[in-house]
Amino acid sequence: MTRSLPVWWRRRIPRYRLIGARCKECGKIHYPPRTSCPYCGSNSLEEVQLPRRGILESYSVIYSVPGDNRLNAPIIVGLVNINGVRIVAELTDVLPGELSTGLEVEAVVRKISETSDTGIITYGVKFRPVLGAGSGAGQDTGEA
């Protein structure tokens, strides 16, 4: 794990917000954000805020958790599809038995970890089921 404060500081924005990069040439959206497009070779990309709702495409309940996250075990990790842009993130406010592929989920900011040596608390994006949403529910396509 990273122990250095400056490194942690530089990473704070992508941790808190769903910022991707949109290619101005071909329109592809990349997450994590990047400065060149591997599809068309363009170097012209702009930051975009991704929608906060997506569909749960897959998930796992991790019982053997490494590093500082060990105290939080088990953790639920989901693969979320937001209009074709995929994000791997932790799921929250839900029990494993309540999950199924196709479930509609939304992004929220939560505590991710607390390092044991420096006491730095890391926050970041997690996803939770949209209240009252079922499998295959419609997807919010608007900007958050």
Binding site: M1, T2, R11, R15, Y31, P32, E57, S58, Y59, S60, V61, I62, Y63, S64, V65, P66, G67, N69, R70, N72, I75, V77, L79, V85, R86, I87, V88, A89, E90, P96, S100, T101, G102, I112, S113, G124
Partner: protein
């Protein structure tokens, strides 16, 4: 393209927890057998390629240590790394050196001592095999977790069950029970597997390959040299290689490994194998079952089963001896063990012995076509190697 290359010698250490030896001694168990079975002297070796992932082991420059212990100091040599596909990458590197005319005889060895580190360290190290910052540090996604995402997506879409995954473990343990080199040479029941604890749901302890120490080695030779050394060379007919995305989130589906599909296509094309029905051309396969779901994905990526139907192969026992195509008669990574860099070379050793009819009774495949396939994956489809081994001399 280039000169033909054959396997002329093989060696394989016992896999398991090997605190009884250091890394050089472990490697030499495989090297000495490979050299003696090839019937060559050390001075005849032109090149030494060492596969080593390391990180958990006290030796930083393992190839140098391994070569010194083996009495090979002074020869050309280097280390090759492609995660869990390191062994196949090392074979490919030595193959290319011989095919190009740079070498006539090459020794390829893969070695790993993963038990020198405590389990959490190994889990953390392997977890970094994906995209470290975005998927490991942020969320604590582990290596079993990566494959679990594939398992959940596959089961949700196609109707495979946790029992189907466990059936792979039962088969591989059954064949490992007849392989004295295996880490777990014992059979298990479906119930034992189903009752084991979850590591990363839906994957349980018995769905996962173990942490293994081990070494495997092969001696490769050019056509001219091979035919002088032996009446029974096993030829490397073709090798397909592909690299997948680093981020899992960059992939467009989670029911197959694109890199494996591409590598198989390349290998089949070069060997003249019909990709619609490859099982007809092959007698036996070793596939990368680091997790049980990975073997089911391999059935489909290699074209042994149609898309969506891989799990039916194991359910109908078509990958046992006597079925469509026997898979992992060594016990696979699951039960033979998975010392990362040794695994691809261990597959080569196993398939050479299978083709030559030299493995233990009860796990010997019927050899009719004289062809065998190795499928070796690095990470979660980050690297894929598909290698075809053959008793008959390949087309030029």
């Amino acid at each position: 393209m280039g000169r033909r290359v054959a396997i002329v010698g093989t060696g394989h250490s016992k896999f398991g927890v090997r605190n009884d030896v250091n890394i050089a001694e472990l490697a030499y168990e495989a090297i000495s057998k490979a050299i003696s079975s090839a019937g060559i002297e050390k001075k005849e070796i032109d090149l030494v390629v060492t596969g080593y992932v390391g990180g958990w082991s006290s030796e930083g420059l393992a190839p140098v240590v391994v070569m010194e212990y083996a009495g090979l100091t002074g020869k050309p040599g280097y280390r090759i790394e492609a995660a869990c596909a390191t062994g196949s990458a090392a074979i490919k590197t030595a193959h290319d050196a011989i095919a190009s005319g740079e070498a006539d005889i090459a020794l390829v060895v893969g070695v790993e001592k993963m038990n020198e580190s405590p389990t959490p360290t190994v889990v953390e190290f392997i977890g970094r095999a994906g995209n470290y910052f975005w998927e490991f540090e942020n969320f604590g996604l582990t290596f079993p977790g990566y494959y679990a995402l594939y398992a959940t997506a596959y089961m949700g879409k196609y109707g495979a069950t946790e029992e189907d995954l466990c059936r792979v473990a039962v088969k591989n343990h059954y064949y490992a029970s007849m392989n004295p080199k295996a880490q777990f040479p014992r059979a298990i029941t479906l119930e034992q597997c189903m009752k084991s604890r979850y590591i990363a749901w839906p994957l349980k302890l018995f769905d996962c390959s173990p942490i293994t120490d081990g070494a495997a080695a092969v001696v490769l030779a050019s056509e001219e040299v091979a035919q002088k050394l032996t009446d029974s060379p096993v030829w490397i007919e073709s090798i397909g290689v592909s690299v997948g995305t680093s981020n899992l989130s960059k992939r467009d589906q989670f029911t197959s490994l694109n890199a494996a599909t591409l590598a198989a296509k390349m290998a089949y094309k070069k060997a003249g194998i019909d990709p619609e029905n490859p099982a007809k051309y092959l007698d036996v396969a070793e596939v990368h079952d680091c997790f049980t779901i990975a073997e089911i994905l391999a059935y489909e990526d290699l074209g042994f089963a149609k898309r969506r139907e891989g799990y039916k192969l194991i359910r109908e026992e078509q990958t046992y001896i006597g079925g469509l195509i026997p898979v992992n008669l060594s016990g696979g990574l699951k039960a033979k063990g998975h010392p990362l860099a040794a695994t691809g070379i261990s597959m080569a050793v196993e398939l050479t012995n299978q083709l030559l009819g030299k493995v233990e009774k009860g796990r010997q495949a019927d050899i009719k076509n004289g062809r065998a396939l190795a499928h070796n994956i690095g990470g979660t489809g980050h690297y894929a190697y598909v290698t075809i081994y053959s008793l008959s001399k390949p087309r030029a």
